[in-house]
């Protein structure tokens, strides 16, 4: 994506969702009450994470086919940004869980899924750092990244659907899915999702450019 328009758009959308998420009207539900607002700060992170991991996967595939360093480092940075967004999503989720479930962490398929996804990507980062030869690194890391993405999809997309979960969106709990996203909340939520994806891509872009500049500086 060329130009500045998408960066501005992302910024605006995120700003809108951050501010309006606090001020806008939401419906009042038992147990949830005002904590339903976490929808704007928690769920978009996962959308953005999946989008960035997908970007990382695509760049890994490209790098595997062309042996191109630039694409490989883009894949790495995208995965890093995705990981960063996942940690935000995890912490906002934990705060929400403390107030509705009474604990920061419970043994639940969705929570396990995200924890393991993060472990897999940590393993990916470790793998990258333990390979010295850059050509070898493109192949090993790229191949592992594909594996990691497939396992992530299995974990957050397939396994939770097979079991009951405490988490909203599964089972018969007073979660978001039955009531949420009425006409008041929908625009804020969607702008948050799109905004965070754009911000994530921008962040990746910045990191890659920073790294390139640093390398150039070191060569000079």
């Amino acid at each position: 994506m060329k130009g500045i328009w998408w960066k501005l758009l992302g910024l605006l959308l995120v700003l809108f969702s951050l501010v309006y998420g606090m001020l806008g009207p939401v419906q009042r539900l038992p147990i949830l009450n005002e904590t339903i607002r976490v929808l704007y700060y928690h769920v978009p992170m996962w959308f953005a994470m999946v989008a960035l991991m997908l970007t990382s996967l695509i760049y890994s595939l490209k790098a595997l086919n062309t042996n191109n360093f630039a694409q490989d480092s883009y894949a790495f940075e995208a995965a890093k940004t995705g990981f960063f967004l996942a940690s935000i999503g995890l912490s906002t989720g934990m705060v929400w869980a403390r107030f509705t479930w009474g604990a920061f962490w419970v043994n639940d398929p969705k929570l396990n899924g995200t924890a393991v996804t993060m472990l897999i990507y940590l393993a990916y980062f470790v793998l990258r750092n333990s390979v010295e030869d850059p050509f070898k690194r493109i192949r090993l890391a790229g191949v592992y990244n594909i594996f990691a993405f497939v396992m992530m999809i299995v974990f957050i997309g397939i396994l939770p659907r097979l079991t009951d979960s405490l988490h909203p969106g599964n089972g018969g709990n007073p979660g978001f899915n039955k009531y949420d996203l009425n006409s008041d909340m929908r625009p804020v939520f969607y702008s948050a999702v799109i905004g965070w994806i754009l911000i994530g891509l921008w962040l990746t872009n910045l990191r890659v450019r920073y790294k390139n500049l640093k390398e150039k500086h070191e060569q000079v």
């Binding site: 595997l64 398929p109 396990n112 393991v116 472990l119 897999i120 393993a123 470790v126 793998l127 333990s130 390979v131 070898k136 192949r139 090993l140 790229g142 191949v143 592992y144 594909i146 594996f147 990691a148 497939v150 396992m151 299995v154 974990f155 397939i158 396994l159 097979l162």
Partner: protein
């Protein structure tokens, strides 16, 4: 192709048998870790703890057993293989070898468990079948990760770090379904979970098969 795969499996057994200590070290590894859990947990063994300990020990011994898969290929033999064996055949051969090896390891672990901690297995047929599915999925992922760590070299923690998170999806379903085989198993009720397990193994196999050639070329 089948002939070549068969030769690779045979070669692996021959090579490993020449250096028997790797087999024996896995046996001792299992014995000592099962004995450890026996010492720690001897009073409160229930089907749940039996199940949990069994899978934890099995997963670690499987990682130990399989990470040496490409041990012999590490130096000169790589070069020999490039010319002679297609990478697809090589990885399939290794997966089959590891599958047999892991299944034997799992059976041995179950035996030691039954001996030390009491036989909790209620429906043996189901348990053996679950173990078979587990070995299949584990061997696909572990062989692949062994290939990665053989190429990445000199980080001893790497096989465990790389493979254990990838094994979680299977392990979660496995421990759930195997607990039922300990307490009373019904094939109809558990069919969906078994199908999921089989599909997970299939996906892992397919990924290993498709991605291995990329890993392989230098």
């Amino acid at each position: 192709m089948i002939e070549q795969i068969y030769q690779i499996v045979k070669l692996n057994f021959r090579l490993e048998w020449q250096e028997r200590q790797s087999y024996f070290s896995i046996l001792i590894y299992i014995l000592s870790s099962v004995y450890l859990s026996y010492l720690v947990f001897s009073e409160v063994i229930s089907a749940e703890t039996w199940n949990a300990f069994f899978w934890v020990i099995f997963i670690f011994s499987a990682v130990q057993a399989a990470y040496r898969s490409f041990h012999y290929e590490a130096d000169q033999r790589f070069l020999l293989y490039y010319g002679m064996v297609k990478p697809e055949n090589l990885v399939l051969g290794k997966i089959i070898y590891n599958f047999l090896y892991l299944y034997a390891t799992g059976l041995f672990t179950a035996l030691v468990f039954a001996f030390l901690m009491g036989n909790e297995i209620n429906s043996l047929g189901a348990f053996l079948f679950i173990l078979l599915l587990a070995s299949l999925g584990f061997s696909a992922i572990l062989t692949f990760v062994a290939g990665i760590s053989a190429k990445a070299s000199n980080n001893p923690a790497l096989p465990a770090i790389l493979s254990i998170p990838l094994l979680y999806p299977q392990l979660i379903s496995l421990s759930r379904v195997s607990l039922r085989s300990l307490t009373g198993f019904s094939w109809e009720v558990n069919a969906p979970l078994l199908i999921v397990l089989a599909l997970l193994s299939l996906v892992s196999l397919l990924l290993s098969f498709l991605l291995f050639p990329y890993l392989w070329r230098d």
